[in-house]
Amino acid sequence: MMRPSVVVWGVAALLGSAPAARAQVDGQAVYDRWCAGCHGVDGTGNGPAARTMLPRPRDFTTALYQVRTTATGELPTDEDILHVIDVGMPGTAMPGWEDVLSRAERDALVEYLKSLSRFFQGDAPEALDFGSATRGTDEAVARGREVYETVECWRCHGQQGRGDGESAPTLEDDRGVPIVAADLTQSWTFNGGGTVEDIYRRLRTGLDGTPMPTFSDIVDAGVISDDDLWALAHYVRSLSPQRTPRVREVVAAELLTDRPVPQTIDDPAWQTADRFYVPLAGQIVVRPRWFNPRVDGLWVQALHDGQDVALLVSWTDPSESPAPQWADYARRVLEVMGPDDEGAATEPGAPDQLVVQFPQELSEGLERPYFLQGDPRRPAYTWTWQSGGGGVIEGVARGMGSAIPQAPEAQHLRAAAQHEDGQWKVLIRRGLATDDEEDLALPVGRAVPMAFQAWDGDNGERGNQGAVSTWYFLFLRQRTPRAVYVAPPVALALTLAFGVLLIRQTQRSAGAGGRSGPGESAQFEASTSTEDGGIR
């Protein structure tokens, strides 16, 4: 981390351009234009947009910076501040500015941010020596799991790292507002970055201003070794997918030819079914809006057997709402995040909820209902599941929150739900066709628009105040025609045979000095074209 910037500075110093450029840029002007909206003109983190953000924007007057290379309580280095400006803080509202502002502007900004706190008057802070990463072997990951137990990360982050530890509901940051324990299964949302090196650094430095402490002292005290801390970083990294999930527009449902769709969540068929990641964002269009969604993504799997389709949707949610130990958390979230919109939730106690939505009718073109549960002209056909044993209900909606459940005799869905280690898994099944004209018949071999919404009741969410996705597609794969498997080998074999014969023929005629008979050649052509015809 340090070396490239040292080089950059060295080069800049040689060229003599950096100081001149810096002198020309007014850090305050840059700040006022790009930063004050959230962080406030006075730098206290109380800009006009701050109320829609949790965590709240950083208060620069306290000089408390989460992502540093310095010990807990120490000031960040200039490079630390620049780094966060450059790449932003994943998992929060803070974007990266590397592509928006020039280097000179960003440097001027660093100086201006420091000027907002009197703590920066002393000597420049020094970065810790982090050494270099150990190898992430299976042994290291296994050892990391042991360290996870020893240093009790699970207290806040939970046994499987989903932020569902017993202390999680009581956490608050330096401003006294609720803060979540990071979901360690989503490395792309880690505030300080998701690489093993990033994780190790956060363990060494802590995240000042949050409940996350430093673990440097226990290494110094010999409670665990530095290698152990690296092992812990490798283990934490291993809880997330190796790569940040790619968003794919089409959720493909494989066809099961030799068995019916799974009826249970732990059916082994799910282990091999493709997983599709669907990001979610707060519903901020229809009032009352919601700026603080807990569920920021779902994993969707789909299978069908020609008769029924089964969807398995999984997502991180620390609690089975409404859980008594989370009631106070929800209340505190509502206190700081409740928008002033009419009808906004004020009391905790709502269940968790998942809505899977389709158009009620498929159009020939690309036209789809409004993504927030349809509109009066184009209704959405919805599957609504709620925690607390309510099962899953079919309905028709003509706008966000307007779903009307279909009559009990017109309900065709089967559901199973499981909450374990901070994760919901909800299985929903339905026949591809139903006897109800109000239902969307799910065609095989055609992309059907599909969208999702999710609520965490213990995060203060209910009504229209939840997380939503845009439209995706569900594609039920067709039975693969046998010809697909038969034709290529046959064609290959024939081509090969033809080639061999041709070579032989040529060799023979060259050796004999004679010509091949036209009859033989015609015979090959005839047989090839016959097979071709058969394939078609």
Binding site: L64, T72, G73, F119, R155, C156, T170, T210, T214, A221
Partner: protein, 285 residues
């Protein structure tokens, strides 16, 4: 109060901090020798000194303190014979009020005091901070002890000093110190949300925390006029003037009342340096 240039003080503090913190953010078990780094004699002649004895009382309806549910933490629950309650109000049998931080706020002029070489100890025992309210001198080592052997994190959230947040997953000691005066610095454990403590950091040795009888003594003060302040986490601050004479013990009293509930409680408020008028607390007459 103090007109000394910042530089000297910060230099002393910086040296003390370096010794205390070692080079990698804290050397557990290492003595933080603020006194060693800056050997200094006390400027007070014991032969001429006097004392202050304060009686801190509470009158009115005592607030109810919520019991702490430690059922999820068997190790800690077993350390308590009876169910512990939150420590924001602890009164003695004779009207004495405990956990009141009493210190000399004004009157010491430019006197400089050596940093004690002995550390003050903040213990975590039975998922409770012991003591709940404590004092330390600027630069003095604070030893944070985990006697529970389960995870605690110790998060100090000062506003004049720099903060820290340290994890202690096993029985161990960790040392830290504070570089400028601040009354009071809140300390909390995020693992056990009921655990909190307050540390008062001053530049001199004239501070004490009241016991359950409400008694406090400040000993060995040079003769003169002082302003003594008493701080309570629920009832805010009270201050009084006192004159100390050689060989005498001046008696003062602080009577907190239930009417003071909801008062402004200075936490993390500066005493001097940046706010020369003293801290922003509202004094009760």
């Amino acid at each position: 109060m103090s007109e000394r240039p910042f530089g000297t003080r910060y230099a002393l503090v910086a040296v003390a901090l370096l010794v205390a913190a070692g080079c990698g953010g804290g050397e557990p078990g290492g003595e933080a020798g603020g006194g060693e780094a800056a050997p200094m004699e006390s400027p007070v002649d014991p032969a001429t000194a006097g004392h202050v004895s304060a009686a801190v009382t509470f009158s009115g309806t005592a607030p109810t303190t919520a019991p702490i549910n430690m059922s999820s933490e068997r190790v800690c629950a077993e350390k308590h014979a009876t169910q512990p309650t939150e420590q924001s109000f602890v009164a003695g049998p004779n009207g004495g009020l405990a956990n009141v931080f009493v210190y000399v706020r004004e009157g010491l002029g430019d006197l400089q005091f050596p940093t004690p070489s002995a550390a003050v100890v903040l213990d975590q025992d039975g998922c409770v901070y012991d003591p709940h309210v404590l004092g330390a001198q600027v630069g003095q080592s604070l030893t944070i002890r985990n006697s529970d052997g389960i995870l605690h994190n110790i998060k100090a959230s000062p506003s004049e000093n720099r903060p820290f947040n340290v994890s202690q997953p096993v029985n161990m000691d960790t040392n830290r110190s504070f570089s400028v005066p601040e009354v009071m610095i809140p300390v909390q454990c995020d693992v056990h949300s009921w655990m909190n403590a307050y540390i008062g950091v001053v530049e001199h040795p004239y501070y004490a925390v009241s016991d359950a009888n409400g008694s406090v003594s400040l000993e060995g003060l040079p003769p003169g006029d002082y302003v003594v302040e008493a701080w309570h986490e629920r009832y805010g601050t009270m201050s009084t003037n006192v004159t100390v004479a050689t060989g005498q013990t001046a008696e003062i009293s602080f009577e907190f009342t239930d009417e003071m509930a909801g008062s402004y409680v200075p936490i993390g408020a500066p005493i001097d340096l940046f706010h020369p008028d003293g801290h922003r607390g509202v004094d009760h007459p």
